[in-house]
């Protein structure tokens, strides 16, 4: 009953906000994430407890199907029929009806986060927008904020909500972007919508399987690769690292999208 209520709310929201203009681009704005200290949950035994993160720009919303449609209109080589298998597997944009046709329920799909996109496609989109993908550290740093505090650990209620999100399977039809509350930095949907690509997703040397991680594949990974958790209760972070480490760059997944990050212009007095 809750889900049907949610669906009704979503439909209304879509009706109000996603006026089919052909593209939802323009509704997404970039926020400045101030520099600070990130304390990674997962790190190697010799890694520092704290990483300095310089300020960077990050889009408030994930990229939508509408945004991505505009991209493939302008960049034919990223259309479904033209993309090279090297750069995207056979499920690339499979939820679209065709190269430039995202289906009959257009208005609804336009505002949903784009998924079934490979890392290469995400990277190309970000570059086309004048940005780049966030690094894993940047993404985790932005996602470690609470709703009204820069530190998620100071926001236990929101933290519990996040754990609940992660233990709920993705719905068959994704909600539109921007419905989850903005965090302290003004960023939506870092939790509770889809997984997101990071530029160095392939830096995590965990296998994603808790049994596997206790005896990481020593043959495959160099000795320096052993990871241990700094805060064992941070379950969602483990899930994200595990998920990322299971990916390959050409993979496309039904609940994996991305958002764009930006370098900030160097400070000039």
């Amino acid at each position: 009953m809750n889900s049907s209520l949610l669906r009704l709310v979503l439909v209304l929201w879509i009706g109000i906000h996603v006026v089919p203009q052909g593209s939802a681009a323009g509704t997404n704005t970039s926020r400045t994430i101030p520099g600070g200290i990130h304390r990674p949950v997962l790190r190697g035994p010799d890694d520092p407890r704290e990483i300095a993160v310089p300020a960077f720009g990050l889009d408030a919303l994930p990229v939508t199907n509408g945004d991505f449609l505009e991209f493939v209109r302008q960049q034919p080589r990223w259309r479904r029929s033209q993309v090279k298998r090297l750069f995207a597997d056979e499920n690339y944009l499979r939820h679209w009806q065709g190269d430039l046709d995202i289906g009959s329920t257009n208005a609804q799909v336009l505002g949903q986060p784009v998924t079934h996109v490979s890392w290469f496609a995400a990277k190309a989109y970000a570059a086309w927008r004048g940005g780049r993908l966030p690094t894993t550290t940047e993404w985790e740093y932005a996602a470690s904020a609470g709703l009204r505090t820069a530190m998620l650990t100071n926001d236990p209620a929101y933290r519990r909500q996040i754990v609940t999100w992660y233990s709920t399977p993705s719905p068959a039809s994704l909600p539109p972007v921007g419905l989850t509350p903005a965090n302290f930095h003004g960023i939506h949907d870092l939790h509770g919508l889809v997984w997101e690509w990071t530029s160095d997703f392939n830096s995590a040397l965990v296998t994603g399987d808790s049994r596997g991680d206790t005896g990481i594949d020593r043959q495959l990974f160099c000795g320096a690769g052993a990871m241990d958790g700094a805060a064992r209760d941070d379950f969602p972070t483990y899930l994200r690292y595990g998920f990322r480490s299971s990916l390959k760059a050409a993979y496309t997944v039904h609940n994996l999208g991305f958002r764009v990050a930006y370098n900030l212009a160097p400070y000039t007095p």
Binding site: G44, S199, Q219
Partner: protein, 207 residues
């Protein structure tokens, strides 16, 4: 009697474009020879679609597609490695030694650094000398951080730098066929190389 078959073999090799005139290439590493002409378009799965530009230890800049036409045995490494890379490089040398002579002539070895800050062309030259990597078949490359990340992503190599400047990384040896498609991969260190060697030889028995 002996010189005649040898001459024929040499002519066939020369015509196939696999071993250009031996005299002119001695001492010239693969990076610095002219690219081999090819009439076939690259398939969808060719790594030679990458447009990134790399710098060899000889200081030459080139795209990976420069290596088209010959089999490449590829590994990602870094010269300051304390753990696995010496074994990884040694594994490549074992593969080279295990190849039958005629296959060895058609196979090159490509070491790409994941540590672009420290692995300058000069440092790669020193490493080549330290490990006695033959000029004729070995290439050492360094590139932009983003491009390394992309190549690693394509090959399925994960890596991460730790605070001491060591990189934790997958130990993975990839064989690229003449058109840049992954023919075979070997995971782990000190594995049996027999299967990989067999596949390289098979690649070369095909037209």
């Amino acid at each position: 009697m002996k010189p005649i078959p040898f001459l024929i073999t040499a002519m066939i090799l020369a015509m196939a474009g696999c071993s250009p005139n031996p005299g002119s290439t001695t001492g010239v590493p693969p990076c610095c020879r002219p690219a081999l002409p090819s009439s076939r378009p690259l398939t969808d799965r060719s790594i030679y679609h990458l447009e990134s530009v790399w710098t060899s230890d000889a200081g030459k800049t080139l795209p990976l597609s420069h290596f088209r036409g010959r089999t490449q045995v590829v590994a990602l490494f870094f010269t300051h490695c304390e753990f696995a890379c010496p074994i990884l490089v040694n594994d490549l040398q074992r593969i080279e030694a295990a190849l039958p002579a005629e296959a060895r002539e058609k196979v090159d070895f490509l070491l790409v650094s994941i540590d672009p800050t420290r692995d300058t062309p000069k440092r790669l030259r020193e490493f080549r000398a330290e490990k006695s990597l033959g000029l004729q078949h070995w290439t050492l490359l360094t590139g932009a951080e983003d491009d390394v990340r992309e190549l690693a992503a394509l090959l399925g190599v994960n890596y991460q730098r730790d605070a001491r400047g060591q990189y934790a990384h997958s130990n993975l040896i990839t064989v690229l066929g003449p058109d840049g498609e992954v023919v075979s991969q070997l995971k782990g260190l000190n594995q049996s190389i027999d299967e990989l060697v067999r596949q390289i030889v098979t690649t070369h028995s095909q037209p």
